[in-house]
Amino acid sequence: MTPLHLCLLISTALFCIGLFGALARSNTILVLLGIELMLNAANINFIAFWRYGPNPAAANGMIFVLFSIAVAAAEAAVGLALIIAVYRHQKNIRLQEATVLKG
């Protein structure tokens, strides 16, 4: 069991938790939390492959993750704003009820 395998196991677990949260929860904020967890699982993979990869001297994996975190922050801001808008519209944030845009 190398450190790389360990990291990948942790990230897989984190991803599965996130996926379950996103699928099973009806509270929109918790769905968003699940998505963030999946994103961070991917970030752990980036770091692990960089740290134990062929060229750990180059900082490319870390830079990639920094970008990813910045994008996640922006995504969270947009998501929260959408949640507030949904709340104003239907007086709750239950994801099952937000079906106005159906075809």
Binding site: A22, L23, V31, L95, A98, L101, K102, G103
Partner: protein, 668 residues
């Protein structure tokens, strides 16, 4: 101080400026501006005359390029020689006086400023015609004076007769102008230039003339003769020569100052001026012996016929202005006669004296008409001698000048010069005899006119209440009367200053005393006959029969009807025109119109076929395609439930499937 030829354009530019202003405003001050502009032009003309007289043999020119055309450049120019300078001085002087007269005559007209605007336009065009050094520029101004004449004859356009007269004048002169235009184009085609004088390359200079008269056409005429005769067509139209004289008497429908300025003194003399200007071209064939006819011979005979015809018809007219109009026709015939027999300086001499005394006579007639409440019929006038002293005195001077009363009056000297030239012409003496007959008739009808108008008893309400006009109208009469006397002394056989100035090759005729005595005798005979028939026993009422009409009723009726020229033209040219118009209308309505209708019906039919094709076949295909697109869209839109968890579930399942594929067989 003299006016250089480069600034000659200022003379027509001043009236043109006022015409432009007059077109924009209805202010009555336009009249004053017009008078000042004409006076200014007169001063400039005098300066130009002073320059031209310093060396009369020089043709000072100023040519400039107008625009490029194909491979050549079209050039215009100005010309200053004694002919131009004398003519501009005469036109501006007479014009200024007539403008002043109009101030009084048109005072109550509602279109007062428009009248002066048109007068200025006319003056500008006329002066432009005189200063032109290019036949093209001359032609442009020639047409512009025609336009101004049309506008002014039809100035009282609400009168149907005035509108018809304006139209008649315009169309009749246009017939002559067509010939002029053809001659101009022919000349431009054969010489490549339309400038009169251009350092040896102009159309009136020796080299060009020699080449023009050297070419012979298929009919035996020299080329210069053909071109000269075509240009003469323009002069026939504009100067009221037989057979296109019919418009001039009708032109008297215009206001009287217009008749005086345009249809007596200046515009109608433009034809004479034109022939005098292109005289070298007209006489280029003079030395050829093999040609069937010389251009100037035609001019002489047309002039002689016109002089006699006009004088004959004038004897039987009863409208004061129409008598003067036919007298103008006759006098213009004299001028053409003089040109034809080779005495072009005598023609210009007569033109100048005629301009003054005929303007005087017309303004006198205008004064009478104005005072007598627009009564123009001499049978209904009468007795104005004591009521209008200035008018009578000046009219009498004009009448004696026109009749050629010996020694004191200008008309005598200028007519003498013409008769002498006709006597010396070696081709034929017929023009001389026509001219001598016209001398008798002129004295006769003028005596009749004066006797009927000014002597005896007033024979209508208007004549009874006539009184002398204001100074604005009498002052020009007095000045013109003075000129009508004095101007003759510039060209007597004893001191032919005018002829020598105009034509450096002029040689004073010796002898000819017998002819002078004969013409004095004929003038006396005419005056005596007039007095015997009309002065001895004065007309008592307007209904009295004319003594001549009693003696020769058939002849007088024919003359009063102007020898039926109008009826003749109506029956021939007019009927031909109507028939052509009917044919054209038929072609337009049924042949061309039918073709157009057929094409339109064809278009409608093919449109309906197209519509059938479209609705039955094409639309079906398009409908099927769009229906299937719509069905597909509906099918997929049902998949979009709006439930986010559903989407996430699909993503998750797809992820698991992707994982399985990769784990089981994808990546090695």
């Amino acid at each position: 101080m003299t006016l250089p030829v480069q600034l000659l354009w200022l003379i027509p530019a001043l009236p043109l400026l006022v015409a432009g202003i007059g077109a924009l405003t209805r202010h009555r001050g336009v009249a004053l501006a017009a008078i000042f502009a004409m006076a200014g032009s007169f001063v400039l003309s005098c300066l130009a005359l002073a320059g031209a007289l310093q060396d009369p043999a020089v043709h000072a020119t100023y040519n400039f390029a107008w625009f490029d055309l194909g491979h050549g450049t079209l050039r215009l120019g100005f010309l200053l020689d004694p002919l131009t300078a004398l003519m501009t001085t005469m036109v501006t002087f007479v014009g200024t006086l007539i403008f002043i007269f109009s101030l009084g005559y048109m005072k109550k007209d509602e279109n007062f400023s428009r009248f002066f605007c048109f007068l200025c336009l006319f003056a500008a065009a006329m002066l432009g015609l005189l200063v032109a050094n290019s036949l093209l520029l001359l032609f442009i101004c020639w047409e512009l004076v025609g336009l101004a004449s049309y506008l002014l004859i039809g100035f009282w356009f609400h009168k149907p007769s005035a509108a018809a007269a304006a139209k008649k004048a315009f169309i009749t002169t246009r017939i002559g102008d067509l010939g002029f235009l053809l001659g101009l184009l022919w000349l431009a085609d054969s010489t490549g230039s339309l400038l009169f004088f251009d350092n040896g390359h102009g159309v009136l200079e020796a080299a060009t003339l020699a080449s023009l008269s050297g070419q012979t056409l298929a009919c035996g005429l020299a080329l210069s003769t053909a071109i000269g005769l075509l240009i003469f067509c323009g002069a026939i139209g504009k100067s009221g020569q037989f057979p296109l004289h019919v418009w001039l008497p009708d032109a008297m429908e215009g206001p009287t100052p217009v008749s005086a300025l345009i249809h007596a003194a200046t515009m109608v003399a433009a034809g004479v001026f034109l022939i005098a200007r292109v005289y070298p071209l007209m006489s280029a064939d003079a030395l050829l012996t093999a040609v069937p006819v010389h251009a100037l011979t035609v001019v002489a005979f047309i002039g002689a016929i016109t002089a006699l015809l006009g004088a004959l018809i004038a004897c039987a007219q009863n409208d004061i202005k129409r008598v003067l109009a036919f007298s103008t026709v006759s006098q213009l015939g004299y001028m053409m006669l003089a040109l034809g027999v080779g005495a072009w300086s005598a023609a210009i001499f007569h033109l100048l004296t005629h301009a003054f005394f005929k303007a005087l006579l017309f303004l006198g007639a205008g004064s009478v008409i104005h005072a007598a409440h627009h009564e123009q019929d001499i049978r209904r006038l009468g007795g104005l001698r004591t009521k209008m002293k200035f008018t009578f005195a000046s009219f009498a001077i004009g009448m004696m000048a026109l009749s050629g009363v010996p020694f004191l009056f200008s008309g005598f000297w200028s007519k003498e010069a013409i008769l002498h030239a006709a006597h010396e012409w070696n081709v034929s003496h017929l023009p001389l005899y026509a001219g001598l007959c016209a001398v008798v008739l002129t004295a006769f009808y003028m005596t009749r006119l004066v006797a009927e108008t000014f002597f005896g008893q007033p024979r209508s309400h208007g004549a009874d209440h006539a009184h002398e006009n204001t100074a604005a109208m009498t002052a020009p009469l007095v000045i013109l009367a003075a000129c009508a006397v004095l101007l003759g002394f510039l060209g007597t056989p004893y001191w032919p200053w005018l002829q020598k100035t105009l034509d450096p090759h002029y040689e004073a005729t010796q002898g000819g005393l017998g002819l002078m005595l004969l013409s004095i005798g004929l003038v006396g005979a005419g005056l005596g006959l007039g007095w015997w028939l009309y002065g001895r026993k004065l007309r008592a009422t307007a209904a009295d029969r004319d003594p001549l009409a009693t003696a020769a009723p058939f002849v007088m009726a024919a003359l009063a009807n102007r020898l039926g020229f109008d009826e003749l033209y109506a029956a021939t040219v007019g009927r031909l025109n109507t028939a052509t118009a009917a044919l054209a209308a038929f072609l337009d309505r049924y042949v061309i119109g039918g073709l157009v209708t057929f094409l339109a019906q064809l278009g409608i039919f093919s449109g309906s076929v197209n519509r059938q094709m479209d609705e039955a076949n094409l639309n079906g295909g398009f409908d099927a395609v769009s229906e299937s697109v719509r069905e597909t869209g509906l099918f997929y839109s049902r998949k979009q439930t709006g439930e986010t968890h559903g989407y996430l579930r699909v993503v998750a399942v797809a992820f698991v499937l992707l994982f399985l594929v990769l784990a089981l067989g994808g990546v090695r």
